[in-house]
Protein backbone atom coordinates (compact mmCIF):
# COMPACT_ATOMS: atom_id res chain seq x y z
CA UNK A 1 0.00 0.00 0.00
CA UNK A 2 2.88 2.35 0.89
CA UNK A 3 6.32 1.86 -0.57
CA UNK A 4 9.26 4.06 0.38
CA UNK A 5 12.18 3.66 -2.00
CA UNK A 6 15.66 4.97 -1.29
CA UNK A 7 14.50 8.27 0.25
CA UNK A 8 17.11 10.87 1.13
CA UNK A 9 16.49 14.12 2.97
CA UNK A 10 18.92 16.77 4.15
CA UNK A 11 18.25 19.85 6.30
CA UNK A 12 21.21 22.19 5.97
CA UNK A 13 24.23 20.16 7.00
CA UNK A 14 22.10 17.50 8.65
CA UNK A 15 21.64 14.43 6.45
CA UNK A 16 18.56 13.00 8.20
CA UNK A 17 17.32 10.28 5.86
CA UNK A 18 20.05 8.37 4.06
CA UNK A 19 18.28 5.96 1.76
CA UNK A 20 15.20 4.73 3.60
CA UNK A 21 13.46 1.67 2.14
CA UNK A 22 10.27 0.37 3.68
CA UNK A 23 7.11 -1.32 2.51
CA UNK A 24 3.85 -1.17 4.42
CA UNK A 25 1.18 -3.67 3.44
CA UNK A 26 -2.52 -3.01 3.28
CA UNK A 27 -4.21 -3.52 6.63
CA UNK A 28 -1.05 -3.95 8.67
CA UNK A 29 0.11 -1.95 11.63
CA UNK A 30 3.70 -0.88 11.07
CA UNK A 31 5.61 0.71 13.93
CA UNK A 32 8.81 2.58 13.21
CA UNK A 33 11.09 2.85 16.22
CA UNK A 34 14.21 4.94 16.61
CA UNK A 35 15.96 7.32 18.97
CA UNK A 36 15.20 10.99 19.42
CA UNK A 37 16.37 12.96 16.41
CA UNK A 38 16.69 9.82 14.26
CA UNK A 39 14.32 11.27 11.65
CA UNK A 40 11.16 9.31 12.49
CA UNK A 41 8.95 12.42 12.31
CA UNK A 42 10.66 13.46 9.09
CA UNK A 43 9.92 10.03 7.64
CA UNK A 44 6.23 10.10 8.55
CA UNK A 45 5.88 13.61 7.11
CA UNK A 46 7.26 12.31 3.83
CA UNK A 47 4.58 9.61 3.65
CA UNK A 48 1.80 12.21 3.66
CA UNK A 49 3.68 14.65 1.44
CA UNK A 50 4.26 17.49 3.94
CA UNK A 51 7.97 17.10 3.22
CA UNK A 52 9.45 16.23 -0.14
CA UNK A 53 12.50 13.98 -0.40
CA UNK A 54 15.72 15.26 -1.97
CA UNK A 55 15.79 12.00 -3.88
CA UNK A 56 13.90 8.72 -3.86
CA UNK A 57 10.26 7.77 -4.36
CA UNK A 58 7.20 7.25 -2.22
CA UNK A 59 4.35 5.19 -3.60
CA UNK A 60 0.86 5.25 -2.11
CA UNK A 61 -1.41 2.71 -3.81
CA UNK A 62 1.17 2.57 -6.61
CA UNK A 63 1.06 6.32 -7.25
CA UNK A 64 4.36 8.12 -6.81
CA UNK A 65 3.47 11.12 -4.66
CA UNK A 66 6.85 12.83 -4.83
CA UNK A 67 6.18 15.03 -7.83
CA UNK A 68 2.41 15.33 -7.69
CA UNK A 69 0.70 18.67 -8.14
CA UNK A 70 -1.06 20.02 -5.08
CA UNK A 71 -4.59 19.11 -6.22
CA UNK A 72 -3.50 15.55 -7.00
CA UNK A 73 -1.60 15.32 -3.74
CA UNK A 74 -4.65 16.52 -1.82
CA UNK A 75 -6.68 13.67 -3.35
CA UNK A 76 -4.10 11.22 -2.00
CA UNK A 77 -4.04 13.00 1.35
CA UNK A 78 -7.73 12.30 1.80
CA UNK A 79 -6.82 8.64 2.15
CA UNK A 80 -4.78 9.59 5.22
CA UNK A 81 -5.52 10.68 8.73
CA UNK A 82 -2.73 11.84 10.96
CA UNK A 83 -2.47 12.17 14.72
CA UNK A 84 0.26 14.61 15.69
CA UNK A 85 2.51 14.33 18.72
CA UNK A 86 0.97 17.37 20.42
CA UNK A 87 -2.40 16.69 18.74
CA UNK A 88 -2.00 19.98 16.76
CA UNK A 89 -5.61 21.00 17.33
CA UNK A 90 -6.55 24.38 15.90
CA UNK A 91 -6.64 26.71 18.92
CA UNK A 92 -9.15 29.09 17.45
CA UNK A 93 -11.77 26.44 16.65
CA UNK A 94 -14.10 24.51 18.93
CA UNK A 95 -13.64 20.78 19.39
CA UNK A 96 -16.41 19.85 16.94
CA UNK A 97 -15.08 22.30 14.34
CA UNK A 98 -11.65 20.73 14.73
CA UNK A 99 -13.02 17.23 14.25
CA UNK A 100 -15.20 18.26 11.31
CA UNK A 101 -12.58 20.57 9.78
CA UNK A 102 -12.12 18.76 6.48
CA UNK A 103 -15.85 18.07 6.15
CA UNK A 104 -16.72 21.72 6.77
CA UNK A 105 -14.27 22.75 4.09
CA UNK A 106 -15.55 20.29 1.53
CA UNK A 107 -19.04 21.75 1.99
CA UNK A 108 -20.71 18.47 1.10
CA UNK A 109 -22.48 18.37 4.46
CA UNK A 110 -24.43 21.04 6.29
CA UNK A 111 -22.97 22.39 9.53
CA UNK A 112 -25.57 20.47 11.48
CA UNK A 113 -24.60 17.21 9.83
CA UNK A 114 -20.90 17.87 10.38
CA UNK A 115 -21.62 18.44 14.06
CA UNK A 116 -23.45 15.13 14.22
CA UNK A 117 -20.59 13.30 12.48
CA UNK A 118 -18.08 15.01 14.80
CA UNK A 119 -20.03 13.83 17.87
CA UNK A 120 -20.12 10.33 16.45
CA UNK A 121 -16.33 10.28 15.87
CA UNK A 122 -15.75 11.72 19.33
CA UNK A 123 -17.83 8.91 20.83
CA UNK A 124 -15.73 6.45 18.87
CA UNK A 125 -12.59 7.72 20.66
CA UNK A 126 -14.37 7.70 24.00
CA UNK A 127 -15.35 11.35 24.39
CA UNK A 128 -18.78 12.86 24.88
CA UNK A 129 -20.06 16.31 25.70
CA UNK A 130 -16.86 18.11 24.75
CA UNK A 131 -18.09 19.33 21.34
CA UNK A 132 -18.31 22.99 22.30
CA UNK A 133 -15.12 23.24 24.35
CA UNK A 134 -12.02 25.01 23.08
CA UNK A 135 -8.82 22.90 22.75
CA UNK A 136 -7.20 24.89 25.58
CA UNK A 137 -9.83 23.49 27.95
CA UNK A 138 -8.81 19.87 27.34
CA UNK A 139 -6.21 17.71 29.09
CA UNK A 140 -3.32 16.15 27.15
CA UNK A 141 -5.02 12.79 26.79
CA UNK A 142 -8.29 14.38 25.68
CA UNK A 143 -6.45 16.46 23.09
CA UNK A 144 -4.94 13.29 21.64
CA UNK A 145 -8.39 11.72 21.45
CA UNK A 146 -9.81 14.78 19.72
CA UNK A 147 -6.82 14.73 17.38
CA UNK A 148 -7.60 11.10 16.60
CA UNK A 149 -11.28 11.90 16.05
CA UNK A 150 -10.21 14.60 13.58
CA UNK A 151 -7.89 12.14 11.84
CA UNK A 152 -10.70 9.61 11.32
CA UNK A 153 -13.44 12.11 10.48
CA UNK A 154 -13.18 11.64 6.72
CA UNK A 155 -12.93 7.85 6.96
CA UNK A 156 -9.29 7.46 5.90
CA UNK A 157 -7.73 4.19 4.75
CA UNK A 158 -4.38 4.91 6.39
CA UNK A 159 -3.72 6.35 9.83
CA UNK A 160 -0.39 7.90 10.78
CA UNK A 161 0.48 8.26 14.44
CA UNK A 162 3.36 10.52 15.46
CA UNK A 163 4.51 9.45 18.94
CA UNK A 164 0.96 8.76 20.15
CA UNK A 165 1.92 7.91 23.73
CA UNK A 166 4.63 10.51 24.33
CA UNK A 167 3.85 12.90 27.16
CA UNK A 168 1.03 10.82 28.63
CA UNK A 169 0.95 8.99 31.93
CA UNK A 170 1.33 5.18 31.61
CA UNK A 171 -2.38 4.49 32.05
CA UNK A 172 -3.43 7.11 29.52
CA UNK A 173 -0.69 5.84 27.18
CA UNK A 174 -2.10 2.33 27.38
CA UNK A 175 -5.61 3.65 26.76
CA UNK A 176 -4.31 5.30 23.59
CA UNK A 177 -2.67 2.01 22.58
CA UNK A 178 -6.01 0.26 23.01
CA UNK A 179 -7.63 2.96 20.94
CA UNK A 180 -5.12 2.46 18.13
CA UNK A 181 -5.89 -1.27 18.12
CA UNK A 182 -9.60 -0.54 18.26
CA UNK A 183 -9.37 1.87 15.31
CA UNK A 184 -7.69 -0.83 13.28
CA UNK A 185 -10.33 -3.41 14.14
CA UNK A 186 -13.33 -1.14 13.71
CA UNK A 187 -12.19 0.85 10.69
CA UNK A 188 -9.86 -1.73 9.11
CA UNK A 189 -7.24 0.87 8.40
CA UNK A 190 -3.57 0.49 7.61
CA UNK A 191 -1.52 2.26 10.22
CA UNK A 192 1.98 3.63 10.56
CA UNK A 193 3.14 4.63 14.03
CA UNK A 194 6.41 6.17 15.02
CA UNK A 195 7.42 5.84 18.62
CA UNK A 196 10.28 5.17 20.98
CA UNK A 197 7.94 3.62 23.53
CA UNK A 198 8.72 -0.09 23.17
CA UNK A 199 5.80 -1.23 25.33
CA UNK A 200 3.48 0.56 22.95
CA UNK A 201 5.32 -0.78 19.90
CA UNK A 202 5.00 -4.42 21.05
CA UNK A 203 1.34 -3.95 21.80
CA UNK A 204 0.15 -2.33 18.58
CA UNK A 205 2.58 -3.58 15.93
CA UNK A 206 2.19 -6.30 13.34
CA UNK A 207 5.69 -5.43 12.25
CA UNK A 208 8.36 -3.18 13.72
CA UNK A 209 11.03 -1.34 11.73
CA UNK A 210 14.01 0.35 13.30
CA UNK A 211 15.33 3.61 11.88
CA UNK A 212 18.96 4.27 12.73
CA UNK A 213 21.36 6.79 11.19
CA UNK A 214 18.93 7.57 8.40
CA UNK A 215 18.28 3.97 7.34
CA UNK A 216 15.91 1.17 8.21
CA UNK A 217 18.27 -1.36 9.75
CA UNK A 218 15.80 -4.08 10.67
CA UNK A 219 12.18 -5.04 10.03
CA UNK A 220 10.32 -7.86 11.75
CA UNK A 221 7.37 -8.97 13.83
CA UNK A 222 7.53 -8.01 17.52
CA UNK A 223 8.74 -11.53 18.35
CA UNK A 224 11.46 -11.39 15.72
CA UNK A 225 12.57 -7.99 16.99
CA UNK A 226 12.67 -9.25 20.56
CA UNK A 227 15.01 -12.04 19.47
CA UNK A 228 17.17 -9.97 17.17
CA UNK A 229 20.90 -10.55 16.89
CA UNK A 230 21.52 -6.97 15.76
CA UNK A 231 23.38 -5.26 18.61
CA UNK A 232 21.97 -1.79 17.77
CA UNK A 233 18.38 -2.99 17.82
CA UNK A 234 19.08 -5.02 20.95
CA UNK A 235 20.45 -2.00 22.72
CA UNK A 236 17.49 0.13 21.70
CA UNK A 237 14.73 -2.28 22.68
CA UNK A 238 16.33 -3.08 26.01
CA UNK A 239 16.85 0.63 26.62
CA UNK A 240 20.48 0.42 27.63
CA UNK A 241 22.87 3.37 27.55
CA UNK A 242 25.81 1.05 26.98
CA UNK A 243 26.24 -0.33 23.48
CA UNK A 244 27.03 0.58 19.90
CA UNK A 245 24.46 3.44 19.67
CA UNK A 246 26.15 6.77 20.07
CA UNK A 247 24.29 9.19 22.32
CA UNK A 248 24.39 12.60 20.74
CA UNK A 249 26.54 15.14 22.55
CA UNK A 250 27.92 12.56 24.97
CA UNK A 251 31.43 11.23 24.62
CA UNK A 252 32.13 7.81 26.07
Amino acid sequence: MIRIVNVHKTFGANHVLRGVNLEIKKGESMVVIGGSGSGKSVLIKHIIGILKPDSGDIFVDNINIVNLKETELNKIRKKFGMLFQGAALFDSLRVWENVGFSLLRERTYSEKEVRRIASEKLRLVGLAGVEDLMPSELSGGMKKRVGLARAIAHNPEILLYDEPTTGLDPIMADAINDLIIEMREKLSVTSVTITHDMQSAYKIADRIAMLYEGKIIEVGTPDEIKQTENPIVRQFITGSAAGPIRIEGVTA
Binding site: I50, R77, M82, S102, R105, R150, L160
Partner: protein
Amino acid sequence: MLRVIEYIGSLIIKFADETGRILILLFSTLKQMILPPYEIRNIIKQMLEIGVMSVPVVLITAIFTGMVLALQTYTGFKRFGAESLVGSVVALSMTREMGPVLTGLIVTGRAGAAMAAELGTMRVTEQIDALETLATNPVKYLIVPRFLSGALMLPALTVLSDIIGIIGGYIITVGLFGASSAQYWRRVWDYLELEDIYNGLIKACFFGASIALISCYKGFYTSGGAEGVGKATTGAVVLSFMTILISDYFLSAWLFK
Protein backbone atom coordinates in the same frame (compact mmCIF):
# COMPACT_ATOMS: atom_id res chain seq x y z
CA MET B 1 39.45 43.90 7.57
CA LEU B 2 38.57 40.57 6.02
CA ARG B 3 36.16 39.98 8.90
CA VAL B 4 34.34 43.24 8.19
CA ILE B 5 33.96 42.36 4.52
CA GLU B 6 32.80 38.87 5.46
CA TYR B 7 30.24 40.32 7.83
CA ILE B 8 28.90 42.78 5.25
CA GLY B 9 28.78 39.98 2.70
CA SER B 10 26.80 37.73 5.03
CA LEU B 11 24.35 40.56 5.69
CA ILE B 12 23.84 41.07 1.96
CA ILE B 13 23.30 37.35 1.40
CA LYS B 14 20.82 37.22 4.26
CA PHE B 15 18.97 40.23 2.90
CA ALA B 16 18.78 38.76 -0.61
CA ASP B 17 17.70 35.38 0.75
CA GLU B 18 14.95 36.86 2.90
CA THR B 19 13.70 39.21 0.16
CA GLY B 20 13.56 36.30 -2.25
CA ARG B 21 11.60 34.15 0.17
CA ILE B 22 9.14 36.94 0.92
CA LEU B 23 8.60 37.46 -2.83
CA ILE B 24 8.01 33.75 -3.36
CA LEU B 25 5.44 33.85 -0.56
CA LEU B 26 3.86 36.91 -2.19
CA PHE B 27 3.47 35.09 -5.51
CA SER B 28 2.01 32.05 -3.89
CA THR B 29 -0.37 34.30 -1.88
CA LEU B 30 -1.52 36.08 -5.04
CA LYS B 31 -2.00 32.76 -6.81
CA GLN B 32 -4.05 31.30 -3.95
CA MET B 33 -6.06 34.52 -3.77
CA ILE B 34 -7.30 34.06 -7.32
CA LEU B 35 -7.98 30.32 -7.17
CA PRO B 36 -11.37 29.27 -5.73
CA PRO B 37 -12.69 28.40 -3.18
CA TYR B 38 -12.67 31.78 -1.49
CA GLU B 39 -12.16 32.12 2.24
CA ILE B 40 -14.99 34.61 2.76
CA ARG B 41 -15.55 33.73 6.40
CA ASN B 42 -11.87 33.96 7.26
CA ILE B 43 -11.49 37.22 5.37
CA ILE B 44 -14.33 38.81 7.34
CA LYS B 45 -12.86 37.53 10.58
CA GLN B 46 -9.47 39.04 9.76
CA MET B 47 -11.02 42.32 8.63
CA LEU B 48 -12.63 42.58 12.03
CA GLU B 49 -9.39 41.68 13.75
CA ILE B 50 -7.09 43.97 11.74
CA GLY B 51 -9.54 46.75 10.94
CA VAL B 52 -12.38 47.14 13.40
CA MET B 53 -10.38 46.16 16.48
CA SER B 54 -7.72 48.76 15.60
CA VAL B 55 -10.21 51.63 15.43
CA PRO B 56 -9.93 52.88 19.05
CA VAL B 57 -6.14 53.05 19.13
CA VAL B 58 -6.01 54.60 15.63
CA LEU B 59 -8.51 57.26 16.71
CA ILE B 60 -6.59 58.16 19.85
CA THR B 61 -3.30 58.36 17.97
CA ALA B 62 -4.83 60.42 15.16
CA ILE B 63 -6.52 62.98 17.38
CA PHE B 64 -3.35 63.62 19.38
CA THR B 65 -1.24 63.76 16.23
CA GLY B 66 -3.59 66.36 14.74
CA MET B 67 -3.52 68.25 18.03
CA VAL B 68 0.25 68.32 18.35
CA LEU B 69 0.63 69.27 14.68
CA ALA B 70 -1.67 72.25 15.24
CA LEU B 71 0.06 73.15 18.49
CA GLN B 72 3.53 73.15 16.94
CA THR B 73 2.63 74.83 13.68
CA TYR B 74 0.48 77.47 15.34
CA THR B 75 3.16 78.54 17.80
CA GLY B 76 5.91 78.20 15.18
CA PHE B 77 4.11 79.94 12.33
CA LYS B 78 3.04 82.74 14.66
CA ARG B 79 6.66 83.89 14.68
CA PHE B 80 6.30 85.02 11.09
CA GLY B 81 2.60 85.72 11.15
CA ALA B 82 1.48 82.68 9.18
CA GLU B 83 -0.72 81.08 11.87
CA SER B 84 -3.72 81.24 9.58
CA LEU B 85 -2.15 78.41 7.56
CA VAL B 86 -2.45 75.83 10.35
CA GLY B 87 -5.52 74.21 8.77
CA SER B 88 -3.62 73.56 5.55
CA VAL B 89 -0.56 72.20 7.32
CA VAL B 90 -2.62 69.81 9.43
CA ALA B 91 -4.71 68.63 6.48
CA LEU B 92 -1.73 68.09 4.17
CA SER B 93 0.39 66.42 6.84
CA MET B 94 -2.38 64.09 7.93
CA THR B 95 -3.51 62.96 4.48
CA ARG B 96 -0.12 62.71 2.82
CA GLU B 97 2.07 61.44 5.67
CA MET B 98 0.88 61.09 9.21
CA GLY B 99 -2.39 59.28 8.48
CA PRO B 100 -0.98 56.40 6.45
CA VAL B 101 2.36 56.08 8.26
CA LEU B 102 1.06 56.25 11.82
CA THR B 103 -1.81 53.92 11.03
CA GLY B 104 0.71 51.54 9.47
CA LEU B 105 2.91 51.61 12.54
CA ILE B 106 -0.03 51.07 14.88
CA VAL B 107 -1.44 48.20 12.87
CA THR B 108 2.04 46.64 12.82
CA GLY B 109 2.21 46.80 16.60
CA ARG B 110 -1.28 45.47 17.10
CA ALA B 111 -2.14 43.16 14.24
CA GLY B 112 1.25 42.43 12.67
CA ALA B 113 2.72 41.20 15.94
CA ALA B 114 -0.39 39.12 16.58
CA MET B 115 -0.23 37.55 13.11
CA ALA B 116 3.42 36.58 13.51
CA ALA B 117 2.82 35.17 16.99
CA GLU B 118 -0.30 33.25 15.97
CA LEU B 119 1.19 31.74 12.81
CA GLY B 120 4.46 31.10 14.62
CA THR B 121 2.66 29.19 17.36
CA MET B 122 0.69 27.28 14.74
CA ARG B 123 3.96 26.35 13.06
CA VAL B 124 5.78 25.13 16.17
CA THR B 125 2.74 23.19 17.43
CA GLU B 126 2.42 21.54 13.99
CA GLN B 127 -0.99 23.08 13.31
CA ILE B 128 0.23 24.24 9.89
CA ASP B 129 1.33 20.68 9.09
CA ALA B 130 -2.07 19.50 10.31
CA LEU B 131 -3.78 21.84 7.82
CA GLU B 132 -1.82 20.20 5.02
CA THR B 133 -2.75 16.71 6.17
CA LEU B 134 -6.38 17.84 6.05
CA ALA B 135 -5.90 18.75 2.38
CA THR B 136 -6.01 22.47 3.12
CA ASN B 137 -3.48 24.85 1.62
CA PRO B 138 -2.09 26.83 4.57
CA VAL B 139 -1.24 29.86 2.42
CA LYS B 140 -4.81 30.03 1.22
CA TYR B 141 -6.34 29.39 4.62
CA LEU B 142 -4.04 31.55 6.76
CA ILE B 143 -2.17 34.10 4.67
CA VAL B 144 -4.61 35.16 1.94
CA PRO B 145 -7.27 36.44 4.40
CA ARG B 146 -4.67 38.40 6.39
CA PHE B 147 -3.03 39.81 3.29
CA LEU B 148 -6.34 40.95 1.79
CA SER B 149 -7.57 42.38 5.08
CA GLY B 150 -4.32 44.29 5.56
CA ALA B 151 -4.44 45.77 2.08
CA LEU B 152 -8.12 46.76 2.44
CA MET B 153 -8.41 47.78 6.07
CA LEU B 154 -5.35 50.00 6.31
CA PRO B 155 -6.72 52.54 3.78
CA ALA B 156 -10.07 52.44 5.62
CA LEU B 157 -8.35 53.15 8.94
CA THR B 158 -6.31 55.87 7.27
CA VAL B 159 -9.47 57.67 6.11
CA LEU B 160 -10.64 57.68 9.74
CA SER B 161 -7.24 58.82 10.93
CA ASP B 162 -7.17 61.69 8.37
CA ILE B 163 -10.57 62.96 9.44
CA ILE B 164 -9.94 62.68 13.17
CA GLY B 165 -6.47 64.24 12.85
CA ILE B 166 -7.93 67.28 11.11
CA ILE B 167 -10.59 67.52 13.82
CA GLY B 168 -7.81 67.31 16.43
CA GLY B 169 -6.09 70.22 14.73
CA TYR B 170 -9.36 72.13 14.81
CA ILE B 171 -9.80 71.57 18.55
CA ILE B 172 -6.40 73.14 19.29
CA THR B 173 -6.44 75.91 16.69
CA VAL B 174 -9.97 77.06 17.41
CA GLY B 175 -10.54 75.80 20.94
CA LEU B 176 -7.16 76.57 22.50
CA PHE B 177 -5.80 79.47 20.44
CA GLY B 178 -9.18 80.99 19.63
CA ALA B 179 -8.57 81.23 15.87
CA SER B 180 -11.56 81.53 13.56
CA SER B 181 -13.38 78.30 12.87
CA ALA B 182 -14.39 79.32 9.34
CA GLN B 183 -10.81 80.21 8.49
CA TYR B 184 -9.52 76.82 9.73
CA TRP B 185 -11.90 74.92 7.49
CA ARG B 186 -11.29 77.24 4.55
CA ARG B 187 -7.55 76.66 4.88
CA VAL B 188 -8.15 72.91 5.08
CA TRP B 189 -10.08 72.89 1.82
CA ASP B 190 -8.09 75.61 0.00
CA TYR B 191 -4.91 73.64 -0.40
CA LEU B 192 -6.10 70.05 -0.03
CA GLU B 193 -6.35 68.22 -3.35
CA LEU B 194 -8.16 64.94 -3.90
CA GLU B 195 -4.80 63.62 -5.06
CA ASP B 196 -3.33 64.14 -1.59
CA ILE B 197 -5.98 61.91 -0.11
CA TYR B 198 -5.89 59.05 -2.58
CA ASN B 199 -2.11 59.02 -2.87
CA GLY B 200 -2.07 58.71 0.92
CA LEU B 201 -4.50 55.82 0.62
CA ILE B 202 -2.37 54.11 -2.01
CA LYS B 203 0.51 54.27 0.45
CA ALA B 204 -1.72 52.87 3.18
CA CYS B 205 -2.76 49.98 0.94
CA PHE B 206 0.88 49.19 0.23
CA PHE B 207 1.75 49.39 3.93
CA GLY B 208 -1.16 47.14 4.87
CA ALA B 209 -0.18 44.49 2.34
CA SER B 210 3.48 44.70 3.41
CA ILE B 211 2.71 44.39 7.12
CA ALA B 212 0.51 41.34 6.55
CA LEU B 213 2.96 39.70 4.17
CA ILE B 214 6.01 40.29 6.37
CA SER B 215 4.26 39.26 9.58
CA CYS B 216 2.81 36.13 8.00
CA TYR B 217 6.18 35.29 6.48
CA LYS B 218 7.93 35.61 9.83
CA GLY B 219 5.26 33.54 11.57
CA PHE B 220 4.94 30.95 8.84
CA TYR B 221 8.65 30.11 8.80
CA THR B 222 9.15 30.11 12.56
CA SER B 223 11.34 27.40 14.04
CA GLY B 224 12.67 26.74 17.50
CA GLY B 225 9.74 26.61 19.88
CA ALA B 226 8.60 29.44 22.14
CA GLU B 227 11.83 31.35 21.68
CA GLY B 228 11.39 31.12 17.93
CA VAL B 229 7.88 32.57 18.19
CA GLY B 230 9.25 35.49 20.20
CA LYS B 231 11.98 36.10 17.64
CA ALA B 232 9.50 35.88 14.77
CA THR B 233 7.24 38.44 16.42
CA THR B 234 10.06 40.89 17.08
CA GLY B 235 11.40 40.32 13.59
CA ALA B 236 7.98 40.96 12.06
CA VAL B 237 7.57 44.26 13.91
CA VAL B 238 11.07 45.52 13.16
CA LEU B 239 10.99 44.54 9.50
CA SER B 240 7.50 45.99 9.02
CA PHE B 241 8.51 49.28 10.66
CA MET B 242 11.56 49.57 8.45
CA THR B 243 9.62 48.65 5.34
CA ILE B 244 6.97 51.26 6.11
CA LEU B 245 9.44 54.05 6.80
CA ILE B 246 11.77 53.30 3.90
CA SER B 247 9.09 52.59 1.33
CA ASP B 248 7.23 55.70 2.53
CA TYR B 249 10.05 57.87 1.25
CA PHE B 250 10.20 56.21 -2.15
CA LEU B 251 6.43 55.98 -2.57
CA SER B 252 6.09 59.66 -1.63
CA ALA B 253 8.80 60.67 -4.07
CA TRP B 254 7.04 58.70 -6.77
CA LEU B 255 3.41 59.57 -6.01
CA PHE B 256 3.68 63.25 -5.04
CA LYS B 257 5.67 64.56 -7.97
